[in-house]
């Protein structure tokens, strides 16, 4: 249409509310995970299998299981989280939704936080819910099982958040799995030490509030720093792809 003055689209100023964007990402991730059942159950089955193989492979003695049960459960939870980490950004990277995430008008670290939260909801929370059953299997007493669940409840979000840094760094690599484990395991060690330490203290009848406070501090640290690190790592990973 020939006109004297060509029309010009003016830039848009208003952006959708932040909460809406964050909720949309969580909803999308949760829906996608719930429909991809295999990815969802794989870490859980791994968790249950590792814990149930110890009585068979090492010793079914009550004394052995009671002594090492906490450690077994925590190590299994840690490894099964690690197993699921590669999926955190990998599918999004492959189908292009990660690019769109980086080009969203909202701050990337908040969107990454939403993704890590969704990851925790589908991997961490089921582990916490399964832990009491497995705790009974390794002959932990009621009080210890309670404390164990509490440590997992505080500890598994740290695993998801810290893991998101490694997942973001390795997402651009074709086979980042091994590198991801090497990068992340050292960062998981404090969580493991304080997680099992808390339960051991509870078994010995000592107060656990100090241990739990340290775990809470780890969670606070991960919540405030990990999303920034992951967001920066994602920009680097996508910039090199």
């Amino acid at each position: 249409m020939p006109t004297d003055k060509r029309p010009v689209m003016t830039p848009v100023q208003n952006t959708a509310p932040l909460a809406q964007a964050v909720i949309a990402i969580m909803r999308r991730d949760l829906k996608a995970s719930l429909r991809q059942r295999q990815d969802l159950f794989n870490p859980l089955v791994f968790f249950v299998m590792v814990v149930s193989l110890f009585p068979l492979g090492v010793s079914p003695e009550v004394s052995f299981l009671r002594q090492s049960g906490t450690g077994i459960l925590w190590v299994a939870a840690l490894l099964s989280t690690l197993l699921s980490l590669d999926h955190l950004f990998r599918h999004d990277y492959d189908d292009g939704t990660l690019e769109q995430l980086l080009l969203a008008p909202q701050p990337l670290f908040l969107l990454v936080l939403a993704k890590a939260t969704a990851h925790w909801l589908v991997t961490g929370v089921p582990l916490v819910l399964l832990a009491p059953v497995l705790g009974v299997m390794v002959h932990l007493d009621g009080n210890s099982i309670g404390v164990l669940c509490l440590t997992l409840l505080v500890g598994t979000p740290v695993l998801s958040l810290v893991g998101s840094i490694g997942a973001a760094l390795t997402v651009g690599l074709r086979s980042g799995g091994v590198l991801l484990s090497l990068l992340i395991i050292p960062l998981y060690i404090p969580v493991l030490i304080f997680g099992t330490g808390t339960v051991t203290a509870a078994e010995a009848g000592a107060p656990v509030s100090g241990y739990l406070a340290i775990m809470g501090a780890l969670l606070a640290l991960a919540l405030t720093l990990a999303p920034f690190a992951s967001a920066a790592a994602l920009r680097i990973s996508l910039s090199n792809s």
Partner: protein, 212 residues
Amino acid sequence: MSEPLLQAVNLSCERDDRLLFRNLDISIVPGTLTRVEGPNGSGKTTLLRILAGLHDACQGDILWNGQLRDRQRESFTRNLLYIGHRAGVKAQLTPLENLRALMAGRRLLSRDLLAAALDNAGLAGYHDAPCHSLSAGQQRRVSLARLLVSDEPLWILDEAFTALDREGVAGLERLLLQRVSQGGAVIATTHHPLAADGMRRIQLGKVNDHAD
């Protein structure tokens, strides 16, 4: 002539020790269609990714509304619609869910509006089918349905015509021309013959000949 929306000044990019382009100056004005041309491997996708802000391993400045783009990221990303090689469509979700998730950070859209966009994109009857059951062309249409509800003045489209049938190609062509006539700016790479009044071209792939 109106003010340029997006400008690249003295852009150079090297990848894997190969110079893709050097001292490239680009100015994208509202109401123009810019086509990036060049043979495979000449850096078309890299250039689009640099302009969109996904790739920053380069020298040169990129200006948005006359100011450095990276200082006003929120304003820039809100006004840019980028569709890359990868469609940005999740296979487990339905077209409606995908479209809603992609638009959620930008503006509020009713379900009816989204459904109408999918209908217009040729996906009537597929709104609630999981995307993994759709063909490649249909998945591409899910991604392109975003263009129909877009209020962003700048579109960057990387090989948007891929996998579309003849009717889809014609529809997309019409959409791009309509957008340009409304004062939007479109930057596209395509091997498909695309022509518009006042179309600008950016030719890539010439630097290599000199560098080799």
